[in-house]
Every structure is written in C-alpha cells, then in structure tokens.
Amino acid sequence: MTAGKTFIEISNLSKRFGGLTAVDDVDFEVREGEVLGLIGPNGAGKSTTFNLICGYYPANTGSIRLDGKEIIGQPPHKIAALGIMRTFQHNMPFEGMSVTENVMVGAHTTLHGGLIPVLLGTGRARSEERALRKKADELIDFVGLSEERDTPVTSLSFGQGRLLETARALAGEPRLILFDEPAAGLTPSECVRLSEIIRGIADRGIAVLLIEHDMHFLMSLAERVVVLNFGSKIADALPQDIRNNPAVIQAYLGDAAVIGADTENGSGADA
C-alpha cells in the first residue's frame, strides 16, 4: 500500500473571495496510488481547494503542478483530460440519461477520433463507441450497479447515485479522483461498500483525495491526512499521528471530543 512517487505538487496556493481568504498559502503533494485525506472544520477551505485543483476557480497565487507542469490557468475540461476527475458532494448526475450513458459521458475525454468521423459515421468511430460502452459496463460492474444499468438516474437511491458518480469519474481514466464527502448521506452498509470501492480504486494505482467529515470512514482509508483550518494547513501526517496532534485538536475545539470518541468506539459521527 505504500504510495508511489509524487505526481501532483501544490505550493503556496491561495484563494481570496473579496476580503475572505478561503485558502491561505497551502502546500501538499499527492503521490501515485495513495489515499490522501483532507479534513478540517467547516469553512476550512477544503472544497475551495478541490475547486482550485479542478480549475473551477482561478487561484490568486501559488501553483499546482502535475508531473512538474503548471495546471493553474487551464480550463476545467483540460484538467479533466489530464487525469483529474471528481465526484460532487451533492450528486450531479446528467438527468434524463441512463446510468450507462452517464458513465459514457464521463469517458468523453478518452475519445480520440474527433467529431468529424462521428458525423460521417465511420466504422472506426462506431468501434470506438462500442469500446466505450464496454468500458462503461465494466465500471458499472465494478461499483456494483449492474442491476441498474438502464435505470433512469432520477430513480436511483442517493447511495446508488454516489456509486454512479464514482463510476463516471473513473470512466475518464483519471490518475487522481477527488471525492467530496462521499460518505455523507450514505447508510452504514453503503459506507462499507464505498470504502471497499475506494480501496479498489487506489489498488488500481489511482490516487484518491478524500474530503470527509466521517472520521471513522476517513481514518480507515487514508494513508496520510492533511488538515486545514481557516484556509491554512496545520498538519500533514499519518492518521494515527493526526489523532494526537494538539493543533488539530485545538482546531476542532469543542469537537475535539468527537475525534476522541471516533478513535475509541468507531462511531462515524460528523466532526
């Protein structure tokens, strides 16, 4: 399970919204195939960090390098094509499409032929289409939605929707997947299932960056944890060290007891 070499380096990253500094001079790195936790109290800048990595917001300062190349300033679709995909805190399926179609759209970045052959209906375009459908089917099996292949996404349960988001993100053949509170709203058994899937993703060599308030869920998965508070990084350590880190306990203040309770009885309380 030891992680591979560093492929994403984030340094001096800052983002201000008006007078509020949401992310303040943050740096950390992501290594190949690791599960990296990103935690912090509400408003610590976790989701903003995600949006900066995805290119949804421009950063004020700092750099995010993928394989040594700067990606800040690239539009979101380019960053996705470079291998950074994400799931959303609130599921965002493409309504009106089936599960399979949603996953196929996620694989859009892996199409090579361009639009002209598709419009001409060439054999190559069709075989690419078939290959994509096959890949989508495999991913749907991987996340365990085989029964729901042709279901309209609007009739999926919340937990199934989360699995669909996961399959759709995987379809883009990412090197890094960002999960934004994936366990929120899931039943305990769905949490276990998702936890297995995330471990399976990391085993495929895909790095996972995980924002999660459910400490039990996070601590069982993460190999390393970065802690943010008021936009600044206050810790970057192994999970067992994070639990005893005074700065982290301080940051959570009254919630410090929650972290303590998590490590003792393993209940997945929201921090």
């Binding site: 979101p76 996705a80 493409f94 499409m97 089936s98 196929m104 759209v105 970045t109 309209p152």
Partner: protein, 293 residues
C-alpha cells in the same frame, strides 16, 4: 378532398421549414440557455447566400444548399466568437448574450439591405417548378423535396444526439454545464459548434423555403416568429419536438386560412394565438422531457 390533400402537402412542407428554424433555436438554446432571435436572419442570409452562389457562382441549386449552409456555419461561428463568448467569459448576466444577438439581428438585416436592393430575387429549387402526384397526394416538387430533406436532417440530428457519446456529451452540457466541464467536456467548443450548426440549419431552412416564394430581406421576421412558436409548441426538451411543433403550427395556419370563415388578415393571428395559448396552458410544449431510454 384532393384540395384538402394538396393543402396538407404544402402545410407539411411549411411545417418542415418552421421545424428547421425551431431546431436552429433549439441547438443554441439547449447547451447555452440563449434564445437566439437572429435565427430568422440566418435563414434569410442563407437564402441570399444560395442566390449569390447559384446565380453568380453558377453552382446547381442542389449544391447551393450545402454551400449556403457552410457559409452560414462560418457566420454563426464568428457571431459566437465575436459577440457571445466575450460576454460569457467576462461574466455578463444571462440576458447579455440574448441582447447582443438581438443587436446582431439588426446588423445582419441592415447589411443585407445595404448590399442588395429591396428587390425580390428568384431562387430555383433543385428540381424546378413541377408538380407531382402520388395517388391522392399532390404537390410541387419543392414541397416534397423540403419534406424529404427535413426528415433526413432530423434523423441525422436525432441519431447524433441519442446514439453517440459526442451527442450525449452535448446533452450533458445542456443538463449541467458545471458537471459537464468537470467531466472533461470543452464548453467553448460545444458552444461554438452549436452556433455554427444552428446557423447552417437555419440557412438550409431559408434555402429550402425560398423557391416557394422569393429571396427577400423581409422573409426573416416571419420565419423567426414561426420558428420560435414551433419551438414553444413542440417543447424545448427534445429534438423531434421542433419538427412536431412546426407541423402543428403550419397545419393550424393553413387550415384556418383555407376553411375558417374569417377575413384572411385575421388568419395571421393564428401563430400568436397558438403561441400564447401554449405558453399559458402547456408551457413545456407537447413533448415532455424524456426520463431515460
């Protein structure tokens, strides 16, 4: 009876033209949320382009159609690049691109009026001005050609949007722009292609319609209104809604004009009455959004 059937053939052809204009509206509206009233101008400019290409360029009418579509695709692409994109990228409100396109509508219209005299120009259909009978059905060559060409275009678009990953990706942009971008779909490219495709389709509608009348600058406004009404009647959720809306509108117009015991001037009110009725009673149009296949 023969009279009615001939009327229906010609109404179907008119409906196809309205349907194509509605499709031009739809292609821009779905992925961008922008209603482009310049669609009627694009149809008119397409007709002029075909006239110039076949009259001065000497190209046969059948080739003038794709040539005019190509010219307008470039104009549509330039319009998006020069007027819509700068607004969107500087974070202008939703209304800004719609107003900018209304401004372009005026510019297009005046440029055509200044470049050509206010005359009407004849445009030949690919098969000339004959009349053809299929059993009870009878109509002009051009009417049957319009219907055939429109069906082919709609089947092509339907297959693209429903059966290819690219088409589904365009649809994904229409459903959720943010998620689509983060899934790796290039919003700029989708928007540019939507404008180019819409202008090409509008141009095709104009070129198909002109041999039934003539090429003139004033053809744009009625087409813009009828195409928009067809869009509302059919519903904005599905490609085939545009065609259905066009046919319903044309039937209502032509049957009223022919059989309703009202002065022919009042028959002009059919389109706005139908438009307002649908907006009040069935604002989502005849065809609902599809749940999923």
């Amino acid at each position: 009876m023969a009279d009615l059937l001939e009327l229906l053939v010609s109404a179907t052809a008119s409906g196809c033209v309205y349907g194509l204009i509605a499709l031009a509206y739809l292609l821009v509206l779905r992925p961008t949320g922008v209603i482009n009233f310049a669609s009627g101008e694009w149809a008119m400019m397409g007709a002029y382009a075909a006239y110039v290409i076949s009259d001065a360029g000497g190209l046969p009418p059948i080739l003038a159609i794709p040539a005019a579509a190509l010219v307008l695709a470039i104009i549509g692409w330039l319009t998006e690049w020069l007027t819509v994109r700068p607004l969107v990228e500087r974070g202008a409100g939703h209304l800004a691109p719609i107003l900018a396109l209304l401004g372009m509508l005026v510019i297009y219209h005046q440029v055509v009026l200044l470049s050509f005299s206010e005359d009407q120009y004849p445009l030949d259909g690919p098969f000339g001005f004959g009349r053809i009978e299929f059993g009870l059905l009878a109509g002009s060559y051009q009417d049957f050609f319009i219907v055939g060409a429109t069906i082919a275009i709609f089947i092509g678009f339907w297959l693209f949007f429903e059966r290819t990953v690219w088409g589904r990706s365009f649809e994904a942009v229409a459903i959720n722009r943010r998620a689509a971008a983060l899934m790796g779909i290039n919003l700029r490219m989708v928007t540019a292609l939507s404008f180019a495709g819409a202008a090409a389709i509008a141009a095709t509608a104009g070129v198909l319609d002109s041999p039934r009348g003539s090429v003139e600058a004033n053809m744009s406004l009625p087409l813009a209104v009828q195409g928009f009404s067809a869009l509302i009647i059919g519903g904005i959720n599905r490609v085939e809604g545009a065609l259905l809306g066009g046919i319903v509108l044309a039937f209502a117009e032509d049957l009223t004009r022919r059989y309703a015991p009202i002065p022919s001037g009042l028959a002009l009110g059919v389109t706005p009455v139908l438009l307002i009725t649908f907006l009040l009673v069935l604002p989502n149009g005849i065809l609902r959004a599809k749940e999923a296949k």
